[in-house]
């Protein structure tokens, strides 16, 4: 699977990543690398393949405070708040979009489902285009599986 090369300090990738770079092994993940169809680890309702009925059980949006910042006890683990997405990178795979999170680095958009991946991509594009801060949630493999813009 192709992934962008992690760089420090942050650097735009799409213009500089070569096919060879894209083919390089990704940085060692914190947990075992998931396959393209591996669902995010929690909650249990998301473990099965996505269907309409199961989507209704999928996570609801977080509560917002009066400034529109996500709040709530359930969001403190796995959630990263108020970050900017400055770059987008994609390669020729159906679920091949990564985003650069300012101050953190490249994050892959979860490949759990093709449509879900496209939805996350839409929101990431909006955030980049309009310089809007995002809140996002990482799954156990460090991929963005929930995105709030």
């Amino acid at each position: 699977m192709a992934t962008p090369v992690a760089r420090k300090p942050r650097k735009a990738v799409p213009a500089t990543v070569t096919a060879a770079e894209a083919a390089q092994a990704p940085p060692a993940p914190a947990t075992a690398e998931a396959g393209p169809d591996t669902p995010p680890p929690a909650p249990a309702a998301m473990m099965a393949a996505a269907t309409t009925a199961q989507d209704m059980l999928a996570p609801a949006p977080p509560s917002l405070d009066e400034q529109g910042i996500a709040i709530g006890d359930g969001l403190t683990v796995g959630w990263v708040h108020h970050r900017m997405i400055t770059h987008l990178w994609s390669y020729d795979a159906v679920t091949g979009v990564w985003v650069w999170v300012d101050g953190i680095g490249w994050k892959r958009l979860s490949p759990v489902s093709e449509h879900g991946h496209s939805h996350l991509c839409l929101l990431a594009t909006l955030a980049t285009d309009r310089n809007l801060p995002v809140d996002y949630h990482e799954d156990a493999a460090g991929r963005i599986d929930q995105l709030l813009v």
Binding site: P111, L120, D145
Partner: protein, 383 residues
């Protein structure tokens, strides 16, 4: 004293009694004061209790007041409540500076108060549970009373009961005011498209005789409808904490309770007699007074609902937030005056809606949403 203005003497007597009791509330000439006795009675739309039914409730006011005060600090389990325990005072008109109470209405010369109290409760719940004070829902009392209640045999003269009307709000739903504007004569007709402009109550709760449960419900879900015995001095209420000063019963009435104040020992109420009565149409009534927590008789008289679902086009508004997950069809939009709405349909329609909404969010274009249940089923984005 002019015979055309008999309320002047009546008002003077009330003021005299209040003065003897240290003026716990203030009486004034209100728009109800000026009405003849039979016109006042026409606005009391809950069948009056018998004297025996009232006598059987001796001691109830004291026990209800004690229970209401004892609820302070009680833990709250509802996730949507502002905190984990009941505060000593709460007002849905000022929750962190936001109001979840719709405007004061006027039922006119019809005993339709149960419809007004019921819909005031639903309107409050609809906005409070969504954290959307801008929802400004205005439901049709005419639809509830002159269609649904009428089908049960209720008339302006007969009055009605909140258990029946809340049941209709669950099973049939109520359209918006613009689809059947209210007039106390019951004239006009409901728009034939009303099933597509509809609000339904969900999760009704009977809170009768349980002040702690009433507080829990208001704090967690919004206002409740409540019936109480109206004594003749109530028509002259202007401000303060009402306690009846006479035993002359005028009838039964229904309002919405929207908060409480333990320090003053009272509920906060929203009436439907226009803004020319009471404190701009609102009032405060002492815990236990006038049997407001449990109306004399056998019927339950305090109800609320835990949510309100809509099926309607809502006014154009901004999209403030968008949310998606890695699932195939799990997109959400936070609409300025509605709150979070799940994007209806499967994966493809979610993609389409998200594309429209990201455009609207990015450019500041307003969107007109069609809400169906808890879902955003149609989106109109226009320049």
């Amino acid at each position: 004293m002019s015979p055309e203005r008999p309320h002047i003497a009546e008002l003077a007597a009330v003021r005299s009694t209040l003065a003897e009791r240290g003026n716990p509330w203030q009486a004034a000439e209100t728009r109800m004061s000026r009405l003849p006795e039979d016109w006042r009675a026409a606005r009391l739309g809950v069948p009056a209790p018998t004297s025996d039914e009232i006598a059987e409730r001796a001691g109830q006011p004291e026990s209800m007041a004690a229970a209401a005060r004892g609820a302070a600090g009680q833990s709250v389990s509802a996730l949507g409540a502002p905190s984990a325990s009941l505060p000593s005072a709460f007002d849905l008109r000022d929750v962190g500076g936001r109001s979840y109470v719709t405007g004061i209405r006027d039922q006119g010369g019809c005993g339709s108060c149960v419809a007004f109290g019921t819909l005031a409760s639903m309107e409050s719940t609809a906005s409070y549970t969504r954290g959307a004070p801008g929802l400004a829902l205005n439901l049709s009392e005419a639809h509830l009373y002159f269609v649904h209640a009428k089908a049960r045999g209720y008339t302006c003269a007969s009055g009605s009961w909140p258990d029946d009307l809340y049941s209709d709000c669950v099973t049939k739903g109520v359209t918006f005011e613009d689809y059947y504007p209210y007039s106390d004569a019951g004239t006009g007709a409901v728009n034939a498209d009303w099933p597509n402009r509809l609000a339904k109550a969900v999760g009704t709760a009977n809170l009768t005789g349980n002040p702690a449960a009433i507080k829990q419900h208001i704090y967690s879900y919004g206002g409740v409808v409540a019936c109480f015995v109206v004594y003749n001095d109530f028509f002259h209420y202007r401000s303060g904490v009402y306690r009846h000063t006479t035993e002359d019963v005028a009838g039964g009435h229904c309002v919405a309770l929207i908060g409480w104040d333990d320090a003053a020992g009272c509920w906060l109420g929203k009436n439907s007699w226009g803004t020319g009565w009471g404190d701009g149409g609102f009032f405060r009534i002492a815990y236990g007074d006038s049997f407001i927590e449990d109306y004399p008789g056998t019927r339950p008289t305090v109800f609320g609902c835990t949510s309100v679902t809509l099926r309607a086009w809502l006014p154009a508004q901004r999209t403030l937030r968008l949310f998606a997950t890695a699932n195939d069809a799990n997109g959400w939009a936070y609409l300025e005056n509605y709150g979070w709405a799940h994007l209806a349909g499967g994966a493809h329609t979610t993609t389409n809606k998200l594309a429209e909404l990201t455009h609207a969010r990015g450019t500041g274009h307003q969107v007109s949403p069609f809400i169906n249940g808890a879902e955003l089923s149609s989106v109109l984005v226009a320049d």
